[in-house]
């Protein structure tokens, strides 16, 4: 378009010269500034072409004009035009070269910006996860400190009595028998309390850290209630409080759970009820609901203030705190009961009316949520025993991890270094590799490549110090410690259940390719990286998507064109990371299959951070 304008401008000079009546002026002098101005916009070739055209027309003029000039003047003019045209052409060439080198610099800069952006994204997500982890750790730390300070306070009270009274007994000879007996009684009682406290604290700590051993079996709740009442009857009687059971006539469906621990909960509730009931009765019962069992303990005690109803389940909170005298018990009974019930997948609650009494009840699902044998078999059958390779340098840790996995129903293999893991993997083809602590991370690159190429997800079960490109980024998922069977199971199955996608990344920038690979790989996709379209063509299988990163300008155009024109690759989603140098690329056909939309989700973070990722 511009070119036509140029021609038009020059040709317009000819009739102008007719009208002006003199070819010598002003045409000849207009030619120079016009040509010069246009050097900025046209290539050397165009300028030369136009100059030639002008010269030919100019040379024809003397024959048609009214006036005749000496041929020498015309020839001289034409010569000067040609020299001017050549000079302008050269100038435009120089200008163009400058422009190209400037463009190249901009391209490089843009490419660097892309890489930096990706780096920033990686860092940002790391910072996020770190601060999340820190928050979590701080919360755990706060809870621990509170618990320890509570424990220390609780231990000091009985210890104090024991120490004081034993010292008194040792120091004074002249104590009468009754007082001596009284003091010995106190010492005995306080030792008992200390023992109970230690037991409760241990239970609490075990449950907190998931180290409690559950003995899961079939439990008959009615039987449990009856035996609890039998145990507590003497205590209730001595206080003059009636203790009754209220069980349904027909037999109750047995549930699965830890009988001793559930008995502990019922005993705790009854003993609390006895403690706070001065007269009246305590009723212990169980009801069968459609999908859960409901066990309740109702007393006719003084009731609980509304603001205390949640607090009583907290560690070391005692209703007795506001009463005169010595609080009995460890202050842990209800927190332990709550933990036991929750471990069984149930809930514990209280309803109370001041002055009339309280009802504590807890539910137990008929299908116990705890990891029990029945469930174990279930997992094993449904998953057909996946093969997992445990790569962990420290043998005891490897054994723990393997037995945890085998308990769930997986088949496991072990390896203590990457080289061995690679050898085993090549033969045994595991479904996934679980990484523990490695003494040296040599060959890690090879393992990562192997896992990507063969679509074998890597799981991390230990935090490894790394630089930017370390194992954390490469892993598909984490298995956190302490090991929890259900968590391991759900993490592995969730990741393996996802259909693995293969994505081809074409980028001339090694660093960018690397960042893209890690990001996409972390989402569970296998990746192939190629520096150019030609090398990508050598890949035998087709990917589920292409990502095109930094490439020379015309190569991007070529890549898009060739991928879109080939019947094989036409339907495959194509993502472009756009920089300034590929601004001329046009959208060629829009293919958005279901799959493409799924992948878009994977690339969402990419999109948000690099605002100009385009999907073709």
């Amino acid at each position: 378009m511009k070119k036509f304008f140029f021609y038009f401008a020059l040709i317009a000079l000819i009739p102008l010269s007719y009208i002006s009546g003199n070819i010598e002026s002003p045409v000849r002098f207009l030619f120079y500034p016009v040509t010069l101005m246009l050097t900025a916009f046209f290539s050397a070739k165009a300028i030369l072409e136009a100059t030639m055209t002008f010269c030919v027309l100019y040379a024809l003029m003397p024959f048609t004009a009214q006036y005749h000039y000496p041929l020498s003047t015309v020839a001289l003019n034409i010569l000067s035009f040609l020299i001017m045209g050549a000079a302008a052409g050269r100038l435009s060439e120089i200008l163009n070269q400058e422009k190209i080198s400037l463009n190249k610099t901009t391209e490089t800069y843009q490419g660097l910006t892309n890489v930096l952006n990706l780096k920033i994204m990686n860092l940002q997500s790391k910072i996020d996860s770190l601060s999340e982890a820190q928050e979590h750790l701080m919360e755990i730390d706060r809870n621990k400190t509170r618990f320890i300070s509570g424990v220390s306070h609780e231990l000091r009270a009985p210890l104090s009595s024991i120490r004081s009274f034993s010292e008194i007994l040792l120091s004074y000879e002249d104590i009468d028998d009754d007082t001596r007996k009284e003091f010995l009684g106190i010492i005995n009682k306080e030792s008992e309390r200390l023992t109970q406290l230690t037991k409760d604290i241990l239970d609490m700590v075990k449950m907190e850290s998931g180290k409690m051993e559950w003995h899961i079996d079939t439990v008959n709740i009615a039987e449990l209630v009856r035996s609890a009442v039998k145990i507590m009857l003497p205590v209730a009687k001595s206080k003059g409080v009636a203790l009754e059971t209220k069980l349904p006539e027909q037999s109750i469906t047995p549930i699965r759970g830890d009988a001793n621990r559930l008995l502990q909960v019922i005993l705790n509730l009854i003993s609390n009820a006895v403690k706070f009931t001065e007269q009246g009765k305590i009723v212990v019962g169980a009801d069968e609901m459609p999908d859960e069992m409901k066990i309740h303990v109702t007393d006719t005690g003084e009731g609980i203030y509304p603001e205390e109803r949640d607090k009583i389940f907290e560690e070391f909170y005692r209703i007795g705190d506001d009463l005169h005298g010595r609080p009995a018990g460890s202050g842990l009974g209800l927190s332990i009961s709550k933990k036991i019930v929750e471990s069984h997948g149930g809930k514990i609650e209280v309803e109370s009316e001041l002055g009339k009494g309280s009802t504590f009840f807890f539910t137990l699902p008929k299908e116990a949520a705890t990891v029990n044998k029945a469930e174990k078999i279930d997992w094993l059958e449904s998953k057909g025993g996946r093969k997992l390779l445990v790569l962990e340098g420290y043998k005891p840790a490897r054994q723990v991890l393997r037995s945890a996995l085998e308990e769930i129903g997986y088949r496991t293999m072990g390896a203590d270094n990457i080289k061995m893991a690679l050898e085993i993997s090549k033969v045994m083809k595991p479904d996934s590799i679980i990484l523990g602590y490695l003494e040296n991370e040599e060959n890690f690159e090879e393992l990562r490549t192997f896992s990507r190429v063969h679509g074998i997800p890597l799981f991390l079960s230990f935090v490894i110090n790394d630089d930017d490109l370390g194992p954390q980024v490469a892993a598909n998922a984490y298995i956190s410690r302490p090991l929890d069977a259900y968590q391991i199971y759900s993490t592995i199955e969730e990741t393996l259940g996802r259909s693995p996608s293969k994505i081809t990344i074409i980028s001339g920038d090694q660093k960018e390719a690397r960042s893209l690979q890690l990001m996409v790989g972390a989402k569970g996709c296998a990746t192939d990286v190629f520096p150019s379209l030609e090398s990508a063509g050598s890949s035998k299988s087709l990917p589920d998507a292409f990502i095109i990163g930094t490439l020379p300008r015309d190569e991007v155009q070529r890549a898009v064109a060739s991928l879109r024109s080939s019947r094989q690759t036409r339907e495959i989603p194509l993502f472009l990371i756009l920089g300034i140098m590929i601004r001329d690329v046009r959208c060629i056909g829009l293919n958005s299959s279901e799959y493409g939309r799924g992948l878009e989700k994977i690339l969402e973070p990419l999109k948000n951070n690099l605002s100009d990722v385009a999907h073709f």
């Binding site: 306070h153 104090s160 024991i162 004074y172």
Partner: protein
């Protein structure tokens, strides 16, 4: 009046009062802060043993009330508590306590301490 023992734990009351009576001291017992304050006003004990965690008026409040009263501030207040943390100690001392003893303690040592304080006066 030599001593006032303020604690809601009956065993602490029992052991301390037993020992001090045995050693010939004149003492009184209170089970909460409010009772302690009124007994201090009435009996003017030389030394007060004060527990921190008590119903109604806790040890910190009681201690401050005693130390802010010009008539009572000469009482020697010994905070006696199962709270063993530095911060509690600081809070106790900030409230004006003269000394701080954590449970478990030895009754004999406490008797020795009381003797020293009384002999100083």
């Amino acid at each position: 009046m030599d001593l006032l023992i303020v604690d809601d734990d009956p065993y602490i009351q029992r052991s301390l009062s037993f020992v001090f009576r045995k050693e010939g001291f004149d003492l009184e017992v209170a089970t909460n802060g409010r009772e302690a304050l009124s007994k201090t006003r009435e009996l003017r004990p030389k030394i007060i043993f004060l527990d921190l965690m008590m119903p109604k008026m806790n040890g910190f409040e009681t201690c401050r009330a005693i130390k802010e009263d010009p008539d009572l501030r000469n009482c020697y207040v010994i905070v006696l508590t199962a709270k063993g943390q530095e911060i509690d100690k600081e809070m106790g001392l900030m409230a004006g306590a003269d000394e701080y003893i954590t449970k478990p303690f030895s009754p004999k040592e406490i008797v020795r301490k009381v003797r020293t304080i009384l002999s100083r006066e």
